[in-house]
């Protein structure tokens, strides 16, 4: 059973599921100019943080129910019993979800950046920082989804569990964009984000697999 191919095929047939988080991202980001006023200098200053925060929330929205369909139709038990290592299946699933929700968001974010009046280099840095940061949020979201699988208030729980853990990548990501706006070097922030991505990619899938086993016992 190839999880990645199956997920992508299912998403191609059922588009609304993965388009919803993108719509949420656009809607949430466009609330801020209405709330704080359309003054260009102000919008430019707060743009990195707003785009990053909205992307983070939209990613968690896309991730929080990652395993619930598998739980409902029994395929999760087959994944646990199957011969292929659960950690690998989890990684495939997270990668597939990132391709569906994270990659379009990375491509959409520069538009949001331009709408907020970000200059060219800052838009490029925003793209790079989201490319490094959205997989981190996808991996953490997968861990939260596994921990809260089948629980009451499961989705709210994922947000409460994951948001504190996702703060470092938000800090470095929006920090790099701010540095680019001020003409400072962006390497430090992006390197730290890369380090966080490597660390999370190594640690999160085995923990997610462990959490799934705990949930299914």
């Amino acid at each position: 059973m190839n999880v990645l191919a199956r997920d992508l095929r299912a998403a191609a047939r059922h588009r609304i599921g993965w388009l919803l988080p993108l719509a949420f991202f656009v809607a949430a980001a466009s609330l801020f100019p209405l709330g704080i006023g359309a003054e260009p200098a102000l919008l430019r200053r707060v743009a990195p943080g707003i785009v990053w925060t909205c992307a983070l929330l939209a990613m968690l929205l896309a991730m929080h129910g990652m395993f619930s369909a598998d739980l409902a139709d029994g395929s999760l038990e087959q994944m646990l019993l199957g011969q292929r290592p659960l950690t690998w299946l989890v990684s495939e699933r997270v990668f597939g979800q990132w391709l569906l929700a994270g990659a379009p968001m990375v491509l959409l974010a520069p538009l949001a950046g331009l709408a907020f009046g970000l200059p060219g280099p800052a838009v490029l840095t925003l793209l790079a920082s989201l490319l490094l940061g959205t997989p981190v949020t996808a991996l953490l979201g997968g861990l939260g989804a596994a921990l809260s699988l089948g629980l009451r208030h499961g989705s709210a729980l994922v947000f409460l569990l994951v948001l504190p853990l996702a703060m470092p990548t938000l800090i470095f990501g929006s920090g790099a964009v701010l540095a680019a706006m001020n003409g400072e070097p962006v390497q430090a922030g992006l390197s730290l984000q890369g380090a966080l991505l490597i660390l999370t990619a190594l640690v999160a899938p085995p923990l997610t697999a462990a959490a799934l086993r705990i949930a299914m016992e």
Binding site: L143, L147, S148, L151, R152, H153, L157, L160, L161, L163, P164, L165, M167, P168, I171, F172, G175, L178, A179, L192, L196, L207, A210, A211, I214, A215, E217
Partner: protein
């Protein structure tokens, strides 16, 4: 129950033996917390001299500092006991971890609240996005996440193991969060108020702080043991 069985380090993993030990220890700890707390507050508020720079406002330190210490120690203790409970399959250790969480959250909230009360007269503001304050706020969120997760799982084993995983991930993340918040703060805000430059303290101040710290430790132990007994009784009744 054989009263003459030899005492090993696993003896108190038995809920019945734990309950008797916890009842005895908690009784003493409640007494120590009460006596040391009253003595510490008396020395702190009536004996210790007025601070040269901060006036009387500094006296909230005797509550603020022990609360902040205990808020961090309780989280580490949760991580420790829940890992012991998970690895050695000891129910009682997991229950102790679960019992520690409300105390830890309480001290974190107290540290934030007293910090705001202290910040208003001395810094002129209730809150600054200083690295330490922000980390303490994130610690409160970690506590709330742990409590929410454990409380929403009905099965005791699953609650203990999922809680252990969250506590472990949180404990490993605390340094990462602290340093990233510090980096963010120094990058975007310039030098803010430094809390690290501690002027030399008078003897009575140190005494009051020591007494209050003892009181907070005793309260943490007493409250979590009492809560662990209650959790244990509840779970054993269900079995």
């Amino acid at each position: 129950m054989d009263r003459h069985a030899p005492t090993r380090w696993t003896t108190f993993a038995s809920p019945a033996r734990f309950d008797r030990l916890a009842a005895a220890v908690a009784r003493w700890c409640w007494a120590v917390a009460l006596v040391a707390g009253l003595a510490g507050l008396y020395v702190g508020f009536f004996v210790a001299p007025t601070d040269a720079t901060q006036g009387e406002a500094y006296r909230i330190l005797f509550i603020h500092v022990p609360a902040a210490w205990l808020s961090m120690i309780c989280y580490l203790a949760i991580a420790l006991w829940s890992v012991v409970g998970w690895v050695f399959k000891v129910r009682m250790a997991s229950r102790l971890a679960r019992a520690l969480a409300p105390s830890g959250a309480l001290y974190t909230a107290m540290a934030l609240w007293t910090g705001a009360l202290w910040g208003q007269p001395t810094w002129g503001t209730w809150w600054v996005w200083d690295a330490r304050l922000t980390s303490e706020l994130i610690l409160l969120l970690l506590y709330l996440g742990y409590i929410a997760l454990v409380e929403s799982i009905d099965d005791e084993r699953r609650a203990a193991q999922a809680g252990a995983l969250v506590a472990l991930v949180g404990a490993l993340n605390v340094p990462v969060i602290y340093f990233s918040v510090r980096w963010w703060n120094t990058l975007h805000q310039g030098a803010s108020i430094s809390l690290t430059a501690a002027p030399s303290m008078a003897q009575q101040m140190l005494l009051a702080l020591a007494l209050c710290t003892v009181a907070f430790w005793a309260h943490a132990i007493a409250a979590s043991l009492t809560r662990a007994r209650a959790i244990s009784l509840e779970q054993e009744a269900d079995r």
